[in-house]
Symmetry: C2
Subunit: 144 residues, 2 copies
Amino acid sequence: MRCAGFAIGMTAEFSENLKKLLDDTAVFATLATIGRDGQPHLTVIWLERDGDQLVYSTTVDRQQYKNIVRDSRVTVMIVPPGDPYVYAEVRGTVTITPDAARELPDRLSHKYTGKPYAEFNPASANDGERVIVRVTPTAVRGRL
Amino acid sequence: MRCAGFAIGMTAEFSENLKKLLDDTAVFATLATIGRDGQPHLTVIWLERDGDQLVYSTTVDRQQYKNIVRDSRVTVMIVPPGDPYVYAEVRGTVTITPDAARELPDRLSHKYTGKPYAEFNPASANDGERVIVRVTPTAVRGRL
């Protein structure tokens, strides 16, 4: 079922076009988390798809991580490169798991840069503890 | 002054690079407003700069408008086309004024499409009442 509105406690599915975009394209997404004062905090993320979940990596010392620990609701905007009038707004809630082996940043780095993460971003050697964030969508809106 | 963190009650200025990007490029932005339940609502917008304010157009029947009437805080993500690792996250508060003559959508349409708005989007004849939204920044983060 593809939900057009709020669907609290339910999950929503991705369209075939959105799945294809996520699987075939190194599409950057904008992630909105909820700050302590309620104002949205926006960052740009790499991501991959696992079924009808979005998956991204972050570190425990970042504001976005502190935000999702406090409030698990996020909203993600996905816009195809070169086609800004077609987009998907994915609302969902997150689950967080440790990534001690740092496998996800490496896999995403290969997808987005063609290189291991340590080569693309040598400063990442100083990164805080890595976690895997999975977004289970409650609603998907847009034309994608 | 360019603020790196929260600056409640203060205003923040745009860097020269951000001003240039906004003035010279038809850069699409992601707008985050705060939904009734506190979850961020994301949309893609056209925008222009007026001094250190961001200016965009919306209609009174849209969710994003209802959100900013309820809570005037917004966050805007601006990413240069083709350079996703450099971005500006602008947090601010909005003021809303009527745009009975619908001048702003026309000016933005020329910037983004090279056409009058009615020509680019004939369905806009059925648009709800137009308003001009000005974002006064309280903080600007990122590398732009």
